[in-house]
């Protein structure tokens, strides 16, 4: 069946996009990797799991309820490994419908086709390598959030929380609430950076109030909050035992660390859409117009995957993308009137979200401080020294560095090492624009061959004609 609009990713942007489009009569399908729509901030608890309601869960439940009532086809638990169609056709052919190839929760392969595609793929976490970062017990702030929110599991008993941005305080507060000991909160930002962000945050007094409450809670419990500081090393025998801040080693059995969020652009890169480097928005982002249109016709991006602006801004950008898609498909005559409200909402929310995103932007000094022997690409065991050597040997961009070192060729597909590696290449070649990004490749996620192959007969394999002898 041909859909009007396919939405990839069921976070706040994707849920809002699918809801908006389906309500207006479009045939919409939403594909989501997790067991239920929600995304990271509004993650739904697993079935049968009861989590006490809070501000996030109420917003998430409302978005989910609206989505369910909209008539959009919701396909959770699906691993989308392939994107195609659109401009990816032989030379001279007209653009094709978009196609998403996926594995269903039962392992069955399927594909959906749509005339327009809205990408709401969110972010992945940036963790800049430091000595000991690959020890068991070191995990991302976002990973800690998933453990706490979706599984009610503590990452450790005595936890150091480190890095940048509001997630730092959210995780610390959740850890305390769940009964962990927070050994320290180590914030890369100086207090003055938070003060500078205040005017922008005032646009969202609700979020500001929550942030203030998190801080107050930490202070009330006497938690050490170290501003303008960083974890420079983690150490332990088999597992993490302590983390170093300045000259002090802090005993801990978990270190939750995150240096910001990076837009997930695997799909827009695969479509060869135009991108620009925007450090303040998290890194490389697709070039968009004011209605979330990519450079590729009928392709749209929304939410943090289009540039980090936070969960509060995501639904508005999702709605804008959906409205633009409907309009471009000839299904929405009065686009100007329809877009006014979400455009206003986005502008307002993006002000606060943008201030937070700037706080989470990559800090080059962290990369400069990485010792030569520290592993940057943990999948392939590539150290900083090896990346530096490849650059000295003439690798002048991310693709050539990848070829020369195997950095980014492992199962994380460059999601974990990419930011550190790109910054290292940039230091040699003169900037992130020059360093570029690894060409988008399929599969978007590693995919189990067995599920992909299914049952087949040899006779059914369409083997092409033999080459000449």
């Amino acid at each position: 069946m041909m859909h009007d609009i396919a939405v990839l990713g069921g976070g706040p942007a994707g849920m809002a996009a699918a809801t908006e489009a389906a309500r207006r009569g479009a045939r919409v399908v939403l594909l989501e990797e997790s067991a239920a729509p929600g995304g990271q901030v509004y993650r739904a608890p697993p079935t049968g799991f009861v989590v006490p309601a809070d501000a996030d869960s109420r917003v998430g439940d409302a978005l989910r309820a609206a989505l369910r009532q909209s008539g959009a086809e919701i396909r959770p638990g699906c691993r989308v490994w392939g994107v195609g169609g659109g401009p990816l056709v032989p030379q001279g052919m007209a653009a094709a419908p978009f196609r998403l190839d996926a594995l269903a929760p039962d392992g069955q392969s399927f594909a959906v086709e749509a005339r327009a595609l809205v990408l709401c793929t969110g972010t992945h976490e940036r963790i800049i390598a430091f000595p000991g970062w690959t020890l068991p017990g070191v995990l991302g702030l976002a990973a800690a959030t998933i453990l706490l929110k979706a599984h009610g599991v503590l990452p450790g008993r005595r936890v150091v929380v480190a890095g940048a941005g509001p997630l730092l305080y959210a995780v610390a507060a959740k850890l305390l609430k769940a009964g962990a000991e927070v050994a320290a909160v180590v914030d890369l930002a100086h207090s003055r950076e938070w003060v500078r962000a205040l005017p922008a945050l005032a646009a969202r007094p609700d979020l500001l109030a929550r942030g203030v409450a998190w801080r107050a809670k930490l202070l009330a419990r006497g938690i050490r909050v170290m501003a303008g500081a960083q974890v420079s090393a983690a150490a332990g025998g088999e597992v993490l035992e302590r983390a170093r801040v300045g000259d002090t080693w802090i005993d801990c059995d978990a270190l939750c660390v995150g240096h910001g969020l990076v837009p997930a652009t695997e799909a827009t890169r695969a479509f060869r859409a135009a991108h620009r480097y925007a450090a303040a928005e998290g890194g490389w982002v697709p070039v968009l117009d004011a209605d979330q249109r990519c450079s590729v016709p009928f392709l749209y991006a929304a939410g943090d995957g289009a540039g980090v602006r936070g969960a509060a801004a995501a639904p508005a950008s999702g709605r804008l993308a959906a409205l633009a898609a409907l309009h471009d498909l000839g299904m929405l005559p009065d686009h100007a009137a329809a877009r006014a409200a979400p455009a206003r909402d986005l502008a307002r929310a993006a002000r606060a979200g943008g201030a937070m995103a700037r706080m989470m932007a990559l800090r080059p000094e962290l990369v400069q401080a990485i010792p030569p022997e520290t592993v940057v690409c943990r999948c392939e065991g590539v150290t900083r020294a090896e990346i530096d050597a490849a650059c000295a040997d003439g690798a002048g961009d991310m693709n050539q560095m990848k070829q020369f070192t195997r950095c980014g060729m492992g199962p994380c597909q460059g999601r974990l090492c990419g930011e550190t590696a790109a910054e290292l290449v940039a230091m040699h070649c003169g900037g992130r624009e020059r360093a570029g990004f690894a060409t988008g490749r399929l599969p978007l996620r590693p995919v189990a061959m067995d599920a992909l192959l299914g049952d087949f007969d040899y006779a059914d394999i369409p083997v092409p004609n033999a080459a000449p002898i």
């Binding site: 392939g82 195609g84 990816l88 056709v89 032989p90 030379q91 196609r99 190839d101 594909a111 695969a270 060869r272 490849a390 040997d393 003439g394 690798a395 002048g396 961009d397 693709n399 050539q400 990848k402 070829q403 020369f404 195997r406 060729m409 492992g410 199962p411 597909q413 060409t439 490749r441 399929l442 599969p443 590693p446 995919v447 189990a448 061959m449 067995d450 992909l452 192959l453 087949f456 040899y458 394999i461 369409p462 083997v463 092409p464 004609n465 033999a466 080459a467 000449p468 002898i469």
Partner: protein, 366 residues
């Protein structure tokens, strides 16, 4: 003023440049991108005789030796070349007949290929599918990590005095071999066109019409897995190449076609080609079902009208040379560059070149 300007820094251009520089010429090697970043850096790295065209076997055998001994002639540069046996298998009677015929031609050309029973094939490759009914075995086979090719050549080129200009696109050639490049004019006494699928455009700069077909070859690699195979494995038709690297990853190739062209490059895999290629691989080695597919990509291969190489002087234009369009060109690449360098230096090459007069005559007749 350079003695020779080589346009295209793939394996053909790099090898030609290296041997010309070592013969005392002042060489400039230009590429619009980075060294060995197109076909030479993204191919399957197969060093197999059983996918090589019969006419190229003598060249491929010599190149096989060169790849394995690369550190000796390339200042220590290497591509992790590994020697291993090669198998080409048949699953149907039709394929068995094809296998026999092709082995015959290749054996005549010098490849030591013997036909073996399925039982013997399984001794050589224990995890081979039980569905194999015949196999060709070639003890001389092997593979490289093609992604290392640029890194392997680069220091040797610089050491030999080659002026390497990456990211320096050539836009045209004026009389007297004045190259119009992104970074200004470059003049040389001789030129070598070594531009892979872009040879057609390059020949046009000189007013020569040389049609080059573009193959958009697909490759797929798995995550690292426990050892499942130890040969380079193919099928009679040549539509599969399969090997496992020392790090455990399995590379699946064979020339299935994706979407792309010489203007946009390799754009996208076709879902049906992707699935077909991977199914064929798992049919040959069922244990591959346990793998996870990690990445697929495309490389552009050039092909002339008769699918034989274009290597030699460009007729009617003195001191202009061409090298490329070699089927499985990576396999034979370093040796072919060495041969062309011999010819450019005025010596008789060890083995004959593949002059393009035949292709231009065809074009004129058409």
């Amino acid at each position: 003023m350079f003695d020779v300007a080589i346009i295209g820094a793939g394996v053909m251009g790099c090898s030609t440049a290296l041997f010309l520089a070592r013969a005392g010429m002042k060489v400039v090697l230009l590429d619009r991108g980075a060294i060995c970043r197109e076909a030479s850096g993204v191919n399957a790295g197969t060093l197999t005789m059983q996918m090589t065209r019969a006419a190229l076997i003598p060249y491929a055998l010599r190149a096989h030796e060169m790849w394995l001994r690369m550190p000796e002639w390339c200042n220590g540069g290497h591509v992790l070349a590994t020697a291993c046996p090669g198998l080409s298998v048949a699953f149907t009677e039709h394929e068995a007949a094809m296998l026999e015929e092709r082995a015959h031609f290749r054996r005549q050309a010098g490849a030591p290929i013997e036909l073996v029973t399925p039982a013997r094939a399984q001794e050589i490759e224990p995890r081979l599918s039980g569905g194999v009914i015949a196999a060709g075995h070639c003890p001389i086979d092997g593979f490289t990590s093609a992604y290392l090719t640029g890194r392997a050549f680069r220091p040797a080129l610089l050491n030999a005095g080659v002026e390497l200009r990456e990211n320096c696109a050539v836009r045209g050639i004026a009389a007297g071999f004045v190259l119009d490049t992104l970074a200004g004019e470059v003049q040389a006494k001789r030129i070598v066109l070594a531009g892979g699928v872009w040879l057609q455009d390059m020949a046009a700069w000189l007013g020569v019409t040389l049609p080059i077909k573009v193959l958009v070859n697909q490759l797929v690699v798995t995550e690292r897995m426990a050892p499942v195979m130890r040969t380079v494995l193919g099928v009679a038709s040549g539509l599969l190449s399969l090997k496992q690297y020392a790090n455990g990853s399995v590379l699946i190739g064979g020339g299935w076609q994706g979407i792309g062209d010489r203007v946009r490059g390799g754009l996208a895999v076709k879902p049906e080609s992707f699935l077909g290629n991977v199914r064929l691989a798992a049919h040959a080695v069922p244990a591959l079902r346990e793998a996870r597919v990690l990445r697929a990509w495309l490389g552009l291969e050039a092909e002339t009208a008769d699918a034989l190489p274009a290597i030699g002087p460009i007729p009617g234009i003195e001191d202009a040379w061409i090298i490329g369009s070699v089927h499985s060109g990576y396999t034979s690449g370093p040796y072919l560059g060495k041969l062309l360098a011999q010819a450019i230096c005025g010596r008789a090459p060890e083995l004959p070149l593949f002059p393009i007069d035949r292709l231009l005559a065809q074009e004129k007749a058409a």
